[in-house]
Symmetry: C2
Subunit: 147 residues, 2 copies
Amino acid sequence: MKITSRFTVAVHTLLVIYLFGGRRKTTSEFIADSVQVNPVVIRRTLLSLKAAGMVEVKAGSGGASIVKDLNDITLYDVYRAVDSVEGELFHFHEHPNPDCPVGKNIHALLDDCLADAQRAMENELKKVTLASLAEELKQKAGGAPSA
Amino acid sequence: MKITSRFTVAVHTLLVIYLFGGRRKTTSEFIADSVQVNPVVIRRTLLSLKAAGMVEVKAGSGGASIVKDLNDITLYDVYRAVDSVEGELFHFHEHPNPDCPVGKNIHALLDDCLADAQRAMENELKKVTLASLAEELKQKAGGAPSA
DNA sequence: ATAGTTGTAACCTTTTTGATTACATCCATA
DNA sequence: TATGGATGTAATCAAAAAGGTTACAACTAT
């Protein structure tokens, strides 16, 4: 199975707000047009990012803005903010037979390994800040985006 | 989202065959009783493990046996054998708007990071051999399992 | 007041998993 | 060589999760 696209949608959302913030009113509809999903999906994403203290959303008048230093937001933070993985990454079969020596011990045998693997993945996400992505984006997109 | 339990089921299956091989006929039903899933699920698992060259299954008479040195089987090999993750671990939103500087570049920005994260997770799985798990299992289960 | 937005519930569809049933095929052996 | 126990595999089913979509109340700048 794959990790939900909420994660990449959320990163995309932050980058749109960053790049267009100030020059445009970054409404859910505007962002949705860049991500190409339903505006409600973006609103839900913004709620998560707001709960994580990354953005602020103007209720009636519209528009989102970033309220945390992008140097202090890693991909891992975004990944967590939108609950990309609920608890454990690996899905265990739930009722191994406790009357079998394998069934009785399989959890003890695997839990640590699997947790290590998950942690290794998450630690990679911690290495990347939104600031570095934003910087790279600016270079790729050229100094003055127009779309 | 979570990675399919096929993975932990497959590891469990191999360990049952290892621990009881020789003393019992490890049929799909016997293994299913330890894992606590439907025997057909085990048969499908065994087909995957067979295709990966890890086990041999006696068609008519029944029973599976391990045909590869457990030192040469890592958790990663099992993970691959049962297609735990099909391609990319992270699910990307599929149609970002190419007319937006963010939509146009989001893939280029994230693909490497996400691939690194996935690779880090998989590399952890490569560190663990079935032989080490089997050894640990023997210790935990005591020298002479009876169930 | 109004027009444009957000917050949020409700519902639907699609996809994926795994459970289950069913049965043809296979094979050791009695 | 008939048979009983297994496997291989297709066909369904149901449950869970993710997104898409509609709808609308509440909010706010003007």
